[in-house]
Structure formats: structure tokens, C-alpha cells
Subunit: 470 residues, 2 copies
């Protein structure tokens, strides 16, 4: 993967990261080591999990992160100090990054990514990191929920037209990570190696003297990928009968009509009627594709009504993360100059966890996810794990071996992990969700997955909370 | 403005646009003239209006729209016909575009953009156009609502970290069009000529041995732009007292502390306490900046509580269009080969208006917006205007002169309109909203603005609805 933005990459940050960087630079603090964590506080969609995504895009963006001549000139014009500008001109991101794998299932409060480097480089990339991880994870999670509702049906991403601007490029990859089969988005398909698909709009049908002629022409040009949109005029009285006629004509030429698409009306009713009409005509192999304002809830309802739909096209709800719009991930400093630190907010849930931390996962006897533990990096054995901020809540994991989820993925700015295809990451998502007990996956009031902190981390946190100044 | 994507621009489309284009190409229909309209069906945020935005980005993207060698090779690999690929290689967008001005206030059903060209070029750009206009308008509208709530207070966009990926670049410009003063987003500021700003995060404060030292260092390095974040440890007991101490020290050096920022807790209570503490210390000039999950409703509530906040930083809700997530704009064919056409959906609201249409605006005696009329392009006089789809609803505008809002902005692929700064467009938004009666601007159940269709268009529509095949 190469980054989508290919120039002035260093400018894809927030202004305050530059003022802080200049502050550290001019006050002689630039080489002070720091450790930052990425984590989110709340599952999106009132759901029970998040699909962690965006790691590869983050890593390639960091490798490509530069303040080119144009960028430096611009920043100089804003009044930044000339010695600092010279520093930026030569700047390369050289930190280490520890992360869970892309496609892993993660939960609130878990430090899924840890960045270790000097104060300037770790601070400068805050917004870049948050923007990429928050959005990719948001959409991969939405896609996984839709996949959950759709079972084995085919899923196509139709979201680009109402996606949030250029974010649509990233959304389509995240959709495939979460379980979609194809995308309408040609740019994403090209850039990320996804499978694209698409046939016709209503405008195709309207561009011909009549619907039958529009269908016939399309079938003639695309005999092997012919899906006919049947709701331009009247689905049951015109669209499906015309599609059947063309389907039967195709049979005479030894071709098969691939499918029909329903894009309006009651999809449960129309798909059942369409199935009957197609079957009666001997076109039992013709698939039914449905689109129009679908999301995981509508698809779940269609499935419950036994609507005979083979393939769903999902647009806006997928590409924009309908119901949440943003994952609330944050990037907080946990160590500075070898000293653990935490922000003690008025709201206990907004406090971060101090120190240099790793993430562990405990599984039950059947391999199902049981609990996750956040510990200091050098911890190896677990007894009691404590709720990150609710007092008194704890769980005993003695005897269970914690699998360490966070591994080194970047060293001194160089990517250590091999490139993975979207399909490989999608397989990880699928396997991960399969191991997640159903009660954490359900849409209504999912059971909260246990995430605890180790005894040593708990003690460190209490110490910092109780000290006068943190 | 130059487009943000600068290579393979022709791929920023949906796959079905390519299959349809190949279909038109191979069936000898490529030169058939077509007219498409852009319009949306529903105001976002349960509001009463939309700020039309994204036009300049659309026009420069169309001028730059190319299938470069890499793109053609990719499409060839997907199995597209070689003669069609050769056509794409030489393809340039050469259509005419008529549009309302960027920053104009528009309403549901209004054809704000009309594209006239051959079938292929008008069809190919559907998704590109929708993606840019839908998202820019969505965010400009959100920003205008927030500006409405904030009155004369300063507004800063802090959205990039939770924006929808690269869409964050576009969101920051749209925020300024809608009335924001500054953005944290350096890339957008650079690319679009916006004003950027930002000072410090909690991590800055945590990187020093204590808060006072962190504040002092910052004040020393940025004596003219010093805004101190006061909620890292304890806002009232530590943050504000330390900020006051540094503010008084700055006075001795003939400098002035610019402001303090509150980022957690009860902003109404804390801002009032902060104001009292600052005033008592003689620092009445120090501004109070507030951030943390703000939107138009929270800001309205803070204003109603007389919270003494001078400046609001708004992030996620702004950049992602919280409450809507997408504007439901569509792009529908209204004329093909000189023949008016419409899709007759099962849902009357999803039918488009046929023909080559223009948009007119009627104002009352005081210059306030009264009603808009959609008419055929050559119409000049209006009598009765009819509701676009509800039978029996009509309004008499006889005697009022309709101002034509849609003008030619692109001719044969060349941009006709001059470049406008974001500030110029923001002024148009502000003037337009000022002319919109308050009942259409309120957040709760806004009064629906009258949009009617002319008698001739009404007759044409009825004729097509009643004809057997459209």
C-alpha cells in the first residue's frame, strides 16, 4: 500500500502539534523519550466490540511523513521559528510502534497501539494516527455488524456517493476488512486491490425508448455479468416481466441472466414476488440483489422475514458509520522521560492509564474470548485483574495464559510487518468474531466484555491518582 | 484551488458508471445528449435549509478528470473493451454545467446543479459529483447551524482527529464556508487558504515536572499567542490559579495572556468560575475558550446559561455532521436525446422532475426569501407554483419577479466562474441566512420553505406520470 495523499504529508496534522513541537524544540526537550497510547472509550453503534483497522495505512503514512519544501515555506509564513523549520525539513518519523494486528477484535480502554520515541515525533503524529485508526475501525466495525446480519449472502459496498468526501476511499477498504465482498468504488478497488462491481442505474433504462430495449442492449453487451435494475417504472408489472423475457432470450444464446436488482419499495414483499415469478419462468438461477437504505437492522429484518435476497448493496449506512459517525479514540501520553504520567480529569472515564503497557487476551477451554488484561510491558503472570476505573470490580484469571496481542510493528520508523491483503485481514476479523461469544456480538444491549488491568498497573494508577500533582 | 487527489482521477467513480459508459459506447449511443440534475430530498439535522457547497472542488475535479495510463491498464485488466479503453484514454469532460452559487441557501427538491453533455460524460461523473456536493453541503450546513447558535463568538474547527478519514480535509473548508473562523487542520488551511490555530494538549502539561512550569515555558516561547489548557489536573484548584500566576508574570514583561481553555467538566459552571477568578486577578482581558463534545445544541444551551465563553472549539459533531452523517443528494436524468424523462418510483418522493430546469427565487417586499420556483429553462413569468409531489398544494406568486439562481458555471469542460476565497463564500452564506426568515432557521420543527414547480413543468410531469411507459 502507498499513502493516498502523496505530497505535503507532514501537514496532515493539527496546528497545536506544531506549536508543541516548536515548544519542545526551543526549550531543549526534543530528545526526551515519551510513550503514547491509542485507545477508545466506547464501542460504536451501542455494540459490544470494535474491529481494529487502519494500521497498514498508518504505518505507510508515517514512513512517508515529510515536511517538503512547499510545506516548510508555508509554515515559515505562519511565523514558526526558522531553526524549528530547518528541523522539520530534515524530520523523519523514527519512533517504535507496538500494536495489535489489523483486523483484531478490541474493546474500550485497551491500548491497542503504543508509540515510543522522542517527544516531538510522538506528539506530531497524534492527529494523523487518530484520524486513520478511528475512521478505519469505525467502518470495519460497521461492516462486520452488517456481515453478521447478512449471514452468507453477498455484500456489496455502494457507499461512495454519500460517503464523507475522500473518506469514501478508505471506507471501501474498511468495508472489505469487515466482511464485504465487493465495492462499487473503482478508486479504492484500484488502490487497495479490492474487487469492484456494478451494472446499471435508472438512467440507463431511461436512456432507451423503453425498458425492454434497455435490458436487451445491456444483455447483449454484458452477456456474462448481466444484472438488470427492475424498478425504474413498475417492478412487478414491467421490470420483472421484461427481465424474464430477456433472461429467456439469453438462454437461447446459451447465456444466463445473472440477476435482477430491486432498489425501491418493500424489499421483503418484492423479493418474494420476484422469486416466484422468476422460478415460474424456469429462471431459478437468477439472483435477487437488493439495495436502498440498507443497514444491519434492515438486513436482519429481511432475513427474519425469509426474503429470498442473494445479495445486498449497502451504501450510506456503511460508508458513514450510521448510528455513530465517529469512533472516540484518543492518544494519550503514558510515560515521559521514564516517568509514568496520567491526566486526572473531572471524569474518571477520561483518565488515561499510566506507564508502558501491553495488552493480553485470555481464552476459555474452547478457545473463546474470556477477558483481556492490560498490564505493564514486562509482566508475564496474572492473578486478579481490576476494572480500569470502577472500584471493586475485579476478576481472577489465575491459571490462564495471557496471549500478548501487542507486538512491535515499526522500529525506528521502519515497518517490520509484511504487507497483508484485505482478504487476509478479513479472515482475521471473521475468525476473531467467531471466537467472540454471541452475547458480546448481539445488537441489543450486548454483554460487556471484561477488560481488566493488572495488579501492578492498578497500584501504579492509584499512586498517581493519590499524589498531589501527577 | 487544485484537486486534492492528483492522480488516477478518473477512477474516483462507481463501477456501474463504467459499465454503462461502455454500453453507450458499444451501442453507438455515446453522442446522445443528456441532462442530469443534482438535488436532495430532505434537509439534514431535521433542519430547514441546506448551505450548498462543494461547487469549486467539483469544477476543478472535472477539469482534472483523466484516465491516465495506469488507470487504463487497470481497467483493461478488469475486462473492459479495448476500443472503450482507447476512448477513455482520450476522454476529457466537455459538458456544460449550470449551478447555483457556492454558499447559496437551497431546499429539498431543488435542482441546484444541471449537467448537459453527452450520455457518457454526464453519466461517468455521477458519483464524483454526488460525493463532493453531498459532503461539502452537509458540513457547511452543520457549520452554519453551529454559527447560528454561537452568535458572535469565535468558532474553531477541531474535527480532524475524528473526521471520516481524508474527508476531514474537505470538512474544514466547509466549516469555514458555514461560518467558522479557524481550523486546527493544517493541511486544509494550506490547501484552501484557511486560518489555522492551536496551542497545547494535555500531553504538553504532562511533559513537565509540574503544571506551572509547563505554562511558564509555553508563555516564554509563545508570548503573543498564549492559550493555556487548564484542566489537566484540577481546573479550579490548579489550572486556573497557575494560569493567573503566569498571566500576571507576563504582564510584568508587557505581554498579555491570550486565553485559557476548558476541555472537560461542566463548561457553564467552570467558565463562570474562571471568569470571576480571572477578573478578580485583573485579567479581565483573558479569553475563555471551551471545547469537549460541543455541537449547536450544547452551544445554544451554554449561551442560554450566559456562560462567559469567548470561543468554542468544535470537533467531531462538526466534521462528521453529527445527527445526519450524509446529505441524501441524488443525480437524476431529466432529458435524453431531447426527450424529457422521469423515473416513476413506488414512492412519489423518489420520482424526479423531468426536463431542462432552472431554479428561481421569490423575495418579499423586505427582500426576505418567500418561495422558490422550479421551472423549465425558458420560462420567465410565474403564476401559480405547485408542490412538487403533494397534490392540491399550490401558491400564487403572480406579480413577483423570480431571480434565476442557476447560471452557467462550466462550458464544454471549461470553468467560467472566477475563483472565490472561502471568506467570500462564507459572506454569501451569512447574507443568505440573514435573508431567510427565522422560522426556517430554528432547530426545533422548522417551518417548511415553499418550493413549487411551474405550471408548465407540472403539466409535463403529469403527462409523463400518466403515460404508459416513461
Amino acid at each position: 500500500m502507498v499513502p493516498i495523499l502523496n505530497q505535503h504529508t507532514g501537514l496532515y496534522i493539527d496546528h497545536y502539534e506544531l506549536t508543541m513541537a516548536q515548544g519542545y524544540f526551543l526549550s531543549g526537550m526534543k530528545e526526551i523519550p515519551a510513550v503514547f497510547d491509542y485507545y477508545f472509550r466506547k464501542n460504536p453503534y451501542d455494540g459490544g466490540y470494535v474491529v481494529f483497522a487502519g494500521l497498514e495505512e498508518l504505518l505507510v503514512s508515517l514512513q512517508d511523513f515529510r515536511f517538503d519544501g512547499t510545506a516548510c515555506k508555508y509554515l515559515s509564513g505562519l511565523g514558526f521559528d526558522s531553526s524549528f523549520i530547518s528541523y522539520l525539513e530534515a524530520f523523519r518519523f523514527r519512533a517504535d510502534i507496538f500494536s495489535v494486528k489489523e483486523g483484531e477484535i478490541v474493546f474500550p480502554q485497551e491500548p491497542s497501539v503504543r508509540v515510543e520515541g522522542n517527544l516531538i515525533e510522538t506528539q506530531l503524529i497524534e492527529t494523523l494516527l487518530l484520524n486513520l485508526l478511528n475512521f478505519n475501525s469505525l467502518i470495519a466495525t460497521k461492516a462486520a455488524r452488517i456481515r453478521q446480519a447478512a449471514g452468507d449472502s453477498q455484500l456489496m459496498d455502494f457507499g461512495l456517493r454519500r460517503a464523507q468526501g475522500l473518506g469514501g476511499i478508505q471506507a471501501s477498504r474498511a468495508a472489505v476488512l469487515g466482511g464485504f465482498d465487493q465495492t462499487s468504488n473503482v478508486y479504492s478497488a484500484f488502490h487497495f486491490g479490492l474487487e469492484s462491481s456494478g451494472t446499471m442505474a435508472h438512467s440507463w433504462v431511461q436512456s432507451f425508448a423503453d425498458e425492454l430495449n434497455a435490458f436487451r442492449t445491456y444483455a447483449g453487451i454484458f452477456p456474462d455479468h448481466c444484472i438488470l435494475l427492475v424498478d425504474t417504472y413498475n417492478t412487478l408489472k414491467s421490470g420483472i416481466p421484461n427481465a424474464i423475457r430477456v433472461g429467456l432470450e439469453m438462454e437461447k444464446r446459451d447465456r444466463k441472466l445473472l440477476g435482477i436488482r430491486l432498489d425501491s419499495g418493500d424489499l421483503a414483499y418484492l423479493s418474494k414476488e420476484a422469486r416466484k415469478m422468476l422460478d415460474r419462468a424456469g429462471l431459478g438461477y437468477v439472483q435477487i440483489i437488493a439495495s436502498n437504505q440498507l443497514d444491519e437492522y434492515v438486513i436482519k429484518s429481511l432475513k427474519e422475514q425469509s426474503a429470498p435476497i442473494d445479495s445486498f448493496g449497502v451504501g450510506t449506512a456503511l460508508a458513514t458509520g450510521k448510528g455513530s459517525g465517529a469512533l472516540d479514540g484518543v492518544y494519550k501520553i503514558g510515560m515521559v522521560d521514564g516517568r509514568p504520567t496520567m491526566k486526572v480529569s473531572d471524569n474518571v472515564q477520561k483518565s488515561n492509564l499510566p506507564g508502558r503497557k501491553a495488552l493480553f487476551r485470555f481464552r476459555d477451554e474452547r478457545g473463546k474470548l474470556m477477558a483481556d488484561g492490560i498490564a505493564l510491558e514486562d509482566e508475564k503472570e496474572f492473578g486478579i485483574i481490576y476494572h480500569p476505573y470502577e472500584q471493586g470490580k475485579k476478576r481472577n484469571v489465575t491459571g490462564y495464559t495471557g496471549e500478548k496481542l501487542t507486538g512491535k510493528v515499526m522500529e525506528q520508523g521502519k515497518i517490520l510487518v509484511g504487507k497483508q491483503t484485505p482478504g487476509m485481514i478479513a479472515d482475521r476479523v471473521s475468525a476473531g468474531l467467531n471466537d467472540l461469544p454471541e452475547e458480546h456480538r448481539r445488537f441489543m444491549n450486548p454483554h460487556i466484555y471484561t477488560v481488566g488491568i493488572s495488579g501492578r498497573l492498578h497500584t501504579l494508577k492509584e499512586k498517581l491518582v493519590n499524589s498531589g500533582n501527577n
